[in-house]
Assembly symmetry: C2
Homo-oligomer: 481 residues x 2
């Protein structure tokens, strides 16, 4: 038996760990936003597999000393690096409960399945989709996009693609997405055997949005060349700057051309919860499928993404499979059709719906929407401060919660300034004061603050900007001296 | 802010939930092994998305009343249905801590990445693999198999398959696996665009094992027909009966034919931890890649699977990708190469390595191996009881932990007996006494007990058999009357 020999002793350790976890989140502001993993910790985490048991207390102590302090840091109020949620204490508690129940949500007849269906239904209703809608929770939007790509592949070729694979005829599938699209779409196209050469990558306009007219031209040309246009991917929040493609126009185009319209809404789709932000996203509700994450802007602990598909039949036809060991029964535990495994690649699936359920039940859609609106306001604040600041240049507007900028240094060449951007961001991270990230905006290295964080305040943003002014200022002065 | 307004009040609720969770696992024997989800619960879980917040206490109460009691049941000592682990309290605690840290293990420089590398290294060392080995944690063996299939595809065609996709030439890829192989392999072959028609499904011998000589014949014929053999999948524990393919012979064949050799070791690979069981699995260590689960026979909470690949370069070449927002830096949080996202489809990845780390640190390899050995002994016990029992017929030997059997009813036709098998298993589940599953063994419906459970005792197995005798006996008598 792998259960504790002494349950009361286990209980003590567990309660202590829980207190530490609560303190950890309550005091996130007191810790560095990030600190490097020390050499002795790296060394320790190279030890070979232990053969003998150890008391849980000592395993916990080792965790508390060598692992707990060296998180990636996204629970910190000044962690604005990349688009990651900041977690919540009740989300973590929900994961404890899900792991306690230890249900496999791949299928069968038990609560985890009903909760996951409820989550899917909530978002189906949010987008105003019909009863035919299907969906499932996955690790994240990368997986959700892959699922959507495979469903679109079935739609274009028919379910025979599962048996036949891609051959000389069907290998002519082509997809369309802007250059601002996340790399995981390309990876999904590759995994599906379509080949990234068949992903037409379109340049973006000055607002980082794809131009539907250009896609229309390409589709016409591709059709003339014997290709089979099968997928248009629109972005609801591009990863670099948070731009939103003209989703309504893309929906029109897709409908006209009979091409699957998928929206990568990794973070942006959640802004649809806000009545104030919804108009910016109009058109997303006309997609054939949408991918998004709960662990980003809903702050559900990692990992939890979702894909919803308007036509549940074609979705099921893409993944449903049989095996004598998974025969469905009319009653008992093997009942409960439809099974989630018939809608995705996985049979083993954690009860990740529970942390989403807890988060939405506790906060309600309105408060979650408000936290998203707040981040957008903060981004606009930061952008306007930067615009009126002689030391900084704004590189992208705050469409949603992302702001890209960099120091002004008229006396420096671009290559030198690019290097200073990278170095300043590293130094800010190393200082432990805050974490922002870098990206490239129209060829220029940029500092990128993604305010996907319910703990961030205006004062935090001020401090980030002042810290960067000091660090970058010093680097520029040194370079010029 | 989505944090509690009153941290002490949150602390109270959380400690109460933790106590409930501990009691839940401690008293798992007192609850039904499974109970159907009542209609009022299903109804409740159809409520629309709440707009307004609710106190966490009331959300927790709703969970405790409507969700917690209706788990799939695999934490129960008499849950022998399908191959699922039974979880541990410290595994659940580890998930709380991982969710608290909320790190994204897709990449970057923080503890989650080092812990995951350690886990991969532990299993690399277990199989005696070289430094070149790569690996990553995924949701489960379905995902792990898909990763391996994609890596094998790269190996056969070259990295250009990512760009070119599968065309008339490369669509001639063919793979080989026995009819006893899990459906997820077929799904992976389909997702990869290879097409399941190109999966050669071989019949098994009387021990449910594939015959390597038959694969060799097929490879020769396929080569002559212009196909490209690219993958042999061996099973270390087939899903229906737990058979182990002749892995050493398959390794020889794959080497001779220059074909990728992948082992689906979803549960069986973990038996390699046991010195006593290791000889049965000999040959697995000569694979090019192995897929396995931690949430099955290591009892880590759902979900946590793993794939290891001997040639880390080809693994990386299959998935590595670039984006300005994921540029690697020499220092700071964006350092820490290699990133796990370069070895799989996902960028957002929970710190699922932590629960594996806790499990192996606390119990040590030897105790975990012992629990696996114990399950195999229990399976042999059950099989021998069945063999010497006039009321039952053994349908598959206990190679590992799975036993398939059914009632003897010489006066009944096969179709009627098949129906009674299914009905008896359903009734056993509905009784709450135990859960076993059904499958088909050489065309006959079978009762299937998968003793992947560290809480099961010999007395539990006796009770399961007696309950089945009573239920099936009644059904047979009624059918004959």
């Amino acid at each position: 038996v792998l259960d504790p020999a002494d349950w009361e002793r286990f209980r003590q350790t567990a309660h202590r760990a829980l207190d530490d976890a609560i303190d950890y989140l309550r005091d996130s502001r007191e810790r560095p936003a990030w600190q490097p993993v020390p050499e002795n910790v790296k060394q320790r985490l190279r030890e070979p597999m232990p053969q003998e048991p150890a008391p849980l207390e000592s395993v916990y102590r080792e965790f508390a000393e060598f692992i707990f302090p060296y998180a990636s840091g996204n629970t910190h109020p000044r962690w604005l690096g990349w688009v990651q949620g900041s977690g919540t204490p009740s989300g973590a508690l929900a994961d404890l409960l899900a792991a306690t129940m230890n249900s496999n949500a791949g299928g069968r007849d038990h609560a985890a399945v009903y909760v996951e269906r409820q989550i899917v239904r909530w978002f189906r209703d949010l987008f105003g989709w019909p009863e035919t809608t299907s969906g499932l929770l996955v690790m994240g939007t990368s997986a959700a996009n892959l699922v959507a790509i495979l469903v679109a592949r079935t739609k274009a070729i028919g379910v025979r693609v599962r048996e036949d694979g891609l051959d000389q005829h069907t290998s002519k599938l082509v997809a369309y997405a802007s250059a601002a699209t996340h790399a995981c779409v390309r990876k999904g196209i590759e995994a599906a055997g379509v080949g990234s050469a068949n992903l037409r990558v379109l340049p973006v306009d000055e607002d980082h949005r794809v131009e539907p007219a250009r896609i229309a031209e390409l589709i016409a040309r591709d059709r003339a060349d014997g290709f089979i246009p099968f997928l248009i991917v629109g972005n609801a929040g591009t990863v670099d700057v948070g731009a939103i493609d003209p989703l309504g126009e893309l929906a029109d185009l897709a409908k006209r051309e009979h091409v699957w319209f998928h929206v990568d809404g990794a973070f942006g789709a959640m802004a649809y919860l806000s009545e104030r932000l919804r108009p910016q996203l109009r058109g997303i509700e006309r997609a054939d499928s949408i991918a998004f994450d709960f662990h980003k802007w809903l702050h559900v602990p990692y990992d939890a993404g979702c894909v919803v598909v308007r036509d549940g039949e074609i979705h099921r036809a893409t993944f449903a499979s049989e095996g004598p060991y998974i025969t469905r029964m009319p009653r008992g535990l093997a009942a409960g059709e439809p099974w989630f495994t018939d809608y995705g690649p996985d049979l083993s699936r954690a009860f990740r719906a529970l942390k989403v359920w807890f988060t939405i039940k506790e906060h309600g859609a309105r408060r979650l929407a408000h936290a998203i609106e707040m981040n957008c306001e903060q981004a606009r604040y930061l952008a306007s401060r930067i615009e009126s600041d002689a030391d900084f240049e704004l590189l992208s507007p705050a469409v949603l919660q992302i702001v890209c900028f960099r120091p002004r240094a008229p006396l420096l060449d671009d290559v030198s300034l690019d290097r200073i951007v990278d170095e300043a961001v590293i130094r800010l991270q190393e200082s432990g004061v805050a974490v922002i990230s870098t990206t490239t905006v129209f060829g220029r290295r940029a500092m990128r603050a993604s305010i996907t964080n319910h703990r961030t305040t205006i004062e935090d943003l001020d401090l980030v900007l002042e810290s960067l002014r000091e660090i970058a200022g010093g680097l520029i002065a040194k370079r010029l001296s």
